[in-house]
Structure formats: structure tokens, C-alpha cells
């Protein structure tokens, strides 16, 4: 009798399991239903919710106090810039209709009329003044270093502003089209305070803030009064999914339309699904080895640096570690950036025999050229393969893998040994961003690079207001670098995204998610 009771329990359990499996029988249908539900309303028109999954959350809705691409990728939908980068990184009018240079240190911007913030306040020159002077003057804001050369913003009239810099600044338009230049509502913030603004942010952008659950999702809704016409989606949801395999699963299960940062190991799995695909685009980040050229350092010898360059099979690293998502390059100023030198792009040097030869000529026996490579753990695999390749050429490599925070501390205190591996981005889309570190003052203690000719070119380009000669200056620097190798460039990284067939998505090189550039797929 008692025995039968327990058996009954077991049978019940089994039954539950079987019911669950039975649900699985109609699994495909159920999955599709979830998809539709997850993407908003069903109907004759395409679904009106766009869901994007990224690995990291935004930091806040303060465009001035943010320093990561993931934040800017979301915030560009809420806050507009005066000048916008189109998908080819060309500067196009946004909140400013036109601009001109008044003199070496003053630019005049004509603002678009009839623009309103999400709370109904009109957008005027007072907002530009408030926004830019805040980020230029408050040195505790994370974006301050990009804007501190702005001395003053003068409101000429309601829709005209003069921006005055402390010297000639060929990069002003670049600054005005990046994070930190998102236009804030002066009156709203002055009335309600910054805390209220951060909880209920208001911008002029195509989408309005609706909800932010930290480390979960940011929900934006259509701004019906957008100056650029009616936005395409009713709702845009940015989900935070730090774990890569979960992000991939969400995409496969239909919970998200676009998933960013797909690991190379999952590319084949996504491509194997009928209604999913992988899209890639080069991003603003070049993986590179930066050398120390201090007297007495082994990497001070140009032959050793050349041997290192020739010993590394860059395409091999792209194929084996990055799942093919990379473009080999001999310069870090890639196309789309001001000052790029196309002849050095999409090429690399690899000659193992010559590398061995050079190392001998430099006076090192097999295994005597000992060096340390420091690297942040995020590029651990790339560094391991590089080290193995260098050892093949006769180097002895000590690999120093650091936690990201430990790495950035060593990086800012400039205390690496012979070399470090790092992926460096370029949020200004200008060659100056790549080279300022090689100017004598900045290079002290890091690379100790010192070339008077390069110094002259870089100093001149920094204040040169003539784009043509300025471009030449940077191209010349790149040619010199290709010879002298203060750094060896491995490859330009590519952003790898997974999407479903409900959307058309062409990733941008700046990794922004302008929701309106993502369109519902025609049925």
C-alpha cells in the first residue's frame, strides 16, 4: 500500500516530464510565436519593435560622462549632434544646417530651426552654449579631455552660435560629431536638476527615453515630432546580455533581432540557421604591438623590430583566432579616418626566413633575444599565437597576461617592458588620435620614440587648418612608421553581428546603432 503511494509520486513526476517533452513536439511553432511576441505587435505591417543585444550596458544618460562605445551606440538615438557622421564617416548636417570658419579659432554654426526636445522645449543656441561649455569646463567629466580646448560658445542669435577654441583646431567637427557633443536641454536641466535629467533624459533625437533597467535593458520609443521625419520603429529595445553564448541563444530563439559581439566560435552555428545570418564590418580598432625604444632595450634595434614584424603571420592570426573577422594592415589609420594611407592597408609582411636572418644580423643567437609581451586578457589568444610565431623565429618570449584593469593601470603609468599588445580605437576618426602618443612629450617612458622629422610633421598637423596639406603630413608619417616600426600592426578588427531575417542591418565602422538605419525586411 505504502509502496504504491511512492510509486504514484514517481509516475506523476514522469508524467510532468512527458508533458514538457510533448510541448517540445510543437517546438518550432512555439518558438516562432515567441519571436513574434518578443518583437512587438503582429499585423500586416512589419513588426514595430527592434531589439538589439549588446554585451555591455550603458553607463548613464549623461553623454558628457560616458566613455564607452556601447553607451554611445544607444545614446545617439536620444541625443543629436550638431554634425553627424554618415555611415561612410562623412560629416553631414544634423542639428547644425551649415557651418563656416570665421577665423583660425572661431567657427560659426547655423542651427536648424523648429527643432524641439522631447519635452517640447525648443532647441536654440542657449542649449549649444550650455552643452559645450559644460563638457569643456568641468574637468571631472569623462569626455572633458576631448572638449577642453573649447574656450567659449557665443550665442550670436537664437539659431547661430560661434564656437571659439584656444588655438587652431582642425578637429573641431570631429569633436562635435562624437559622444560628449550630444545636445542637452539647458532649460530642463537648469529647472529640474541633473539628477532628474539622468532619470528622465530628454534630447532631440529620433527616439525618446522610456525605461532603463540597469544591466537588463534600455527601452526607447518613437519621437513623433522628430525633425528628420517619422522614425521607423515604434519601440527600440537595447538588451544587455554579457554572456556571449546566451546572446547567441537569444538570437537563435528569436528574442533579439540583432546581437552584437558574436564570438568567432559561434559564427558557423548562426550561419547554419535558415533565417539567421552573420554580418561583419571593420571597426575602429587595430590590434598592435607597441615597442619600447629606450637605450639598452632590445627593441631599440630596428633590425629586431623588423624581425618581429616579419616573423608574425598576421593573416594566420586573423584566420585562426578571429574567425576571419579581421583585415591585415601596415598602418593603424584605416580607411574612413582622416589622413589614411591606402597603400599600407590590406597588406602585411611575413617572411620567416628573413626574420631569422635579421635576428642573426642583429647579433642574437637562437633563444637569446628575450622579450616580454604584456597584454590584457581580452587579447590573450592573439598574444599566445604571436608569441609562438616569434619563438619560431628564434626569440624567447615571456608572456605577461594581465587582467583588463591591471593592464590599464600599467598602461597609464607607462610601465611595460619591451612591448605590449593593445587594440586601439579612434573615436575622432582622425590620424592625430593614432599618433599623439609618438610625440616626444607623450612618448616619454612609454615607447621613448623620438624622430625629429615625425615630431615636426605631427606638431604641424595638429594645428594645420588646410585639410589637403594636413592629410599629406599624416601620410608621410605613416610611410616613415612603416619603415621604422615603432609599432607593428597586426590587423584591423571587425565587428561581428548576428541578425534575423526580419531586419536589414549593415553595421557601421563606428559601432553605432542608429535604429533608423536598421530597416524592417520587406515581407
Amino acid at each position: 500500500m505504502k509502496k504504491r503511494q511512492w510509486t504514484g509520486l514517481w509516475i506523476t513526476l514522469l508524467a510532468i516530464v512527458m508533458v514538457l517533452s510533448a510541448c517540445g513536439g510543437g517546438g518550432k511553432d512555439t518558438a516562432n510565436n515567441t519571436t513574434a511576441e518578443g518583437s512587438g505587435t503582429e499585423g500586416s505591417s512589419a513588426s514595430s519593435t527592434l531589439t538589439i543585444a549588446a554585451a555591455t550596458d550603458i553607463e548613464s544618460f549623461d553623454p558628457h560622462n560616458n566613455n564607452n562605445t556601447a553607451s554611445e551606440a544607444v545614446l545617439v538615438n536620444v541625443f543629436d549632434y550638431l554634425v553627424k557622421n554618415d555611415s561612410q564617416q562623412k560629416k553631414v548636417p544634423a542639428l547644425a544646417e551649415s557651418w563656416e570658419q570665421v577665423n583660425d579659432t572661431t567657427w560659426r554654426f547655423k542651427l536648424r530651426e523648429g527643432v524641439t526636445f522631447h519635452n517640447g522645449d525648443p532647441f536654440t543656441s542657449a542649449d549649444v552654449k550650455y552643452t559645450l561649455e559644460r563638457v569643456a569646463k568641468d574637468n571631472t567629466l569623462k569626455q572633458n579631455s576631448y572638449f577642453k580646448n573649447i574656450v567659449e560658445v557665443k550665442a550670436v542669435d537664437e539659431h547661430t552660435v560661434d564656437i571659439v577654441t584656444d588655438g587652431p583646431d582642425p578637429l573641431l567637427l570631429n569633436r562635435l560629431s562624437k559622444m560628449g557633443a550630444g545636445m542637452l536641454p539647458a532649460k530642463y536641466i537648469e529647472d529640474k536638476g541633473m539628477d532628474t535629467f539622468l532619470k528622465e533624459p530628454v534630447g532631440t533625437g529620433a527616439y525618446k527615453f522610456s525605461k532603463w533597467t540597469k544591466d537588463d535593458r534600455v527601452v526607447l520609443v518613437k519621437n513623433e515630432n522628430y525633425f528628420g521625419g517619422e522614425p521607423k520603429w515604434n519601440e527600440v529595445v537595447f538588451r544587455v546580455i554579457p554572456e556571449a553564448s546566451t546572446r547567441v541563444s537569444e538570437l537563435l530563439a528569436g528574442g533579439v533581432d540583432v546581437a552584437a559581439s558574436i564570438p568567432s566560435t559561434d559564427i558557423a552555428r548562426i550561419e547554419g540557421e535558415a533565417d539567421k545570418k552573420i554580418v561583419k564590418a571593420p571597426i575602429q580598432r587595430v590590434l598592435q604591438l607597441i615597442f619600447r625604444q629606450t637605450e639598452g632595450s632590445i627593441t631599440a634595434d630596428p633590425k629586431v623590430r623588423e624581425a618581429i614584424d616579419l616573423a608574425i603571420d598576421k593573416q594566420g592570426i586573423v584566420d585562426s583566432i578571429a574567425g576571419g573577422a579581421g583585415i591585415v594592415t601596415r598602418t593603424s589609420v584605416t580607411p574612413g579616418n582622416f589622413g589614411a594611407e591606402p597603400s599600407l592597408y590590406k597588406t602585411s609582411l611575413y617572411d620567416l626566413d628573413k626574420a631569422k636572418q635579421l635576428l642573426k644580423e642583429a647579433g642574437y643567437e637562437e633563444g637569446k633575444a628575450e622579450m616580454t609581451i604584456s597584454v590584457s586578457s581580452q587579447y590573450k589568444e592573439q598574444a599566445e599565437v604571436t608569441a609562438a610565431m616569434l619563438e619560431q623565429a628564434g626569440f624567447k618570449i615571456n608572456l605577461d597576461v594581465l587582467e583588463p584593469s591591471a593592464f590599464s593601470e600599467r598602461y597609464s603609468s607607462k610601465s611595460f617592458k619591451e612591448m605590449f599588445m593593445i587594440g586601439i580605437g579612434n573615436s575622432l576618426f582622425d590620424a592625430s588620435n593614432n599618433y599623439n602618443r609618438y610625440m616626444v612629450e607623450e612618448a616619454k617612458g612609454e615607447s621613448d620614440y623620438n624622430n625629429p622629422e615625425v615630431e615636426k610633421l605631427l606638431q604641424s598637423a595638429l594645428v594645420n587648418m588646410n585639410p589637403e596639406s594636413r592629410e599629406k603630413e599624416y601620410q608621410q608619417v605613416q610611410q616613415i612608421f612603416a619603415e621604422e616600426r615603432p609599432a607593428v600592426y597586426l590587423y584591423q578588427m571587425e565587428g561581428v553581428y548576428g541578425t534575423n531575417d526580419k531586419v536589414n542591418f549593415a553595421p557601421r565602422s563606428d559601432e553605432m546603432f542608429y535604429a533608423d538605419e536598421i530597416t524592417p525586411a520587406a515581407k
Binding site: K28, P242, E442
Partner: protein, 305 residues
């Protein structure tokens, strides 16, 4: 009893003080948040300015005294990352973590109590062996792996449950089950051995010899006493569930305290780390006191002075 509770509560203060000191020092010797906050192009001067603005240029003891002064007023400083009060951010996350921990506990009890009791009653039979086997597997399976496998099975292949995030009840099932299994395995073993011990005691034999049914004896006499070690393990596990759901919260992108702490550690967000550890320590201490009290309720022989 009342005296005991008051005494315990007073002991909380030095514990929290020591915890705050250790965390404070650890957070400061392990890295510089300023390096992570500024863009790559920032100069040494920019870093100096920010370091000073955050008060990180002052000697450690000055910083600590300042921290302690504000902390007793409930101010744990501002999060560098979010620019909001750290304690507020931590407390904001508690409901999500509690929800997950409670659901995991529910699953664990649901699985462990019947399995543990059956195992003890059917000692050394095939059923017992089977249950022991299952609980060994449950205990040995890493949360991380199991979470991913469950997602693949129930969300990607069968499409019956959502993959990740916090929403309705359906979002809770997979993460809570993942967390609950390891716990259930542990509890099953414990309930089994505790029940076995009790089933051999004289008063059980007495009850049986009075002619009471087997089920009645197990349910009314043995089970209640068998609960004491279970309550201990439950309380210990509940506190570790609150603070230690890190991996599960990350796998399921569950916006709880664990995920907040992981991000805060990675970004050296000192204020959040301090506030989070403090809050977790506080919960641990309180739950421990509650455990002691519940012993007494379960077994009148246990007395506190």
C-alpha cells in the same frame, strides 16, 4: 530569547566594521579606477585632475575615515560608473536577487524534501542508490554549464521558455532551477542522513510500537526533527545565493546584485563594491541570527542565554 537577539544584533556592529575595513583596503590596493574611466587619449594631467577630484590622492587612512564617517550615515559614496549613490544602486538590485534566491530555494526544497525522505526510508535499496547518484551528479554539475544546456534545450530547441532577462514567471524558471539543483543535491544528502539517524531513535520505535502507521511516524515525528540541519544549510545557502549568484546571473543576464558586483569589480567601481559587500555581509549576519532563532522554534530543547 529576546536578550539573545539583542546581544547578537550588537555583535553585528564590529563585524560590519571589520568587513568595511577589509573591503576598503582591498579595493584600493588592487587597481586605479581613473585609468579605466578616461579615454585612451587622456593625458597625465587629465588623470591627475580626476584623481584629485575623486579624492584618491589623499592618504589611505584619510580616505577611510571619510568613508566611515559617511557610511554610518548611509552614504557609501557615488558610483564612478553611474554617478549615483552606490547604496541606492545596490538596494535597487536586491529585489531581483531575492526573487531568484527564493525561487531557487523553492525548487531546492521541492526536490530535496521528498527525495531525501524517500532515500532514508528506502535505505540501501535501488531507489536510494538512484537518488544518491542523481544528487552526486546535481552537485558536481557546474552552474555555468548547466545554465547554458538548459537554455539550449528549453529555449533554443523547444522554444518553451525565454532565454534570459527578468520578466514574468517564465523568465524565472530556468535560472532558479539552475541555482536550485546544486542546492537540492546537497539538501537531499543531508535530509537523508538526518532522517536515518532519527529513524533509529528510541522515540520512533516507541511511536511505531504504539501502533501508529509508518507514514504518520515519518511525517509527524521524524520529519520535524530532521529539519534542523536542513534549516542550517538553507540559511547558509540563502546568503550565498544572494551574494553568490554571480555566475547564474551572468549566464541568464539577470539584473541582480551579483551582476552589479561583477561589473563593479571589472570597472573598479569602488563605491559599489564597498556598498555591495557591506549589504551582503549585513544580510549574512541577520540570516545567521534568524537561523539560531528558528532552531529554537523547531527544537524546544535548544536554549539560548
Amino acid at each position: 530569547m529576546g536578550k539573545y537577539i539583542v546581544k547578537s544584533l550588537l555583535q553585528v556592529i564590529p563585524v560590519l566594521f571589520i568587513v568595511s575595513l577589509i573591503v576598503f583596503i582591498l579595493v584600493r590596493v588592487t587597481g586605479d579606477p581613473v585609468a579605466l574611466m578616461l579615454p585612451e587619449t587622456a593625458t597625465a594631467e587629465d588623470r591627475a585632475v580626476l584623481t584629485q577630484a575623486l579624492g584618491l590622492d589623499q592618504p589611505l587612512y584619510t580616505q577611510y575615515v571619510k568613508f566611515l564617517g559617511s557610511a554610518v550615515q548611509g552614504d557609501f559614496g557615488q558610483s564612478f560608473r553611474y554617478g549615483q549613490p552606490a547604496l541606492e544602486l545596490v538596494l535597487e538590485r536586491l529585489p531581483a536577487s531575492f526573487e531568484l534566491a527564493a525561487a531557487a530555494m523553492f525548487f531546492a526544497v521541492l526536490m530535496a524534501v521528498p527525495l531525501g525522505v524517500i532515500s532514508a526510508v528506502k535505505r540501501n535499496t535501488f531507489t536510494d542508490l538512484l537518488i544518491s547518484g542523481i544528487s552526486v551528479i546535481g552537485k558536481a554539475m557546474p552552474n555555468f554549464w548547466m545554465g547554458i544546456m538548459l537554455i539550449l534545450l528549453f529555449s533554443v530547441m523547444l522554444g518553451v521558455l525565454p532565454v534570459s532577462g527578468r520578466g514574468g514567471l517564465s523568465h524565472l524558471i530556468l535560472p532558479a532551477f539552475t541555482l536550485g539543483v546544486g542546492l537540492a543535491a546537497q539538501m537531499t544528502r543531508l535530509i537523508r542522513s538526518s532522517m536515518l539517524e532519527i529513524l533509529n531513535q528510541d522515540y520512533i520505535r516507541t511511536a511505531r510500537s504504539k501502533g501508529l502507521g509508518r507514514m504518520t511516524v515519518i511525517a509527524k515525528h521524524a520529519f520535524r526533527n530532521g529539519l534542523i540541519p536542513v534549516v542550517t544549510i538553507m540559511s547558509l545557502q540563502f546568503t550565498s545565493l544572494i551574494g553568490g549568484t554571480l555566475i547564474t546571473e551572468t549566464v541568464f543576464s539577470w539584473p541582480g546584485l551579483g551582476q552589479l558586483l561583477v561589473v563593479a569589480v571589472n570597472t573598479h567601481d569602488m563605491a559599489i563594491v564597498q556598498a555591495a559587500v557591506f549589504v551582503i555581509a549585513f544580510i549574512v549576519v541577520i540570516v545567521n541570527i534568524m537561523t539560531d532563532v528558528s532552531y529554537r522554534l523547531l527544537d524546544p530543547r535548544i536554549k539560548y542565554d
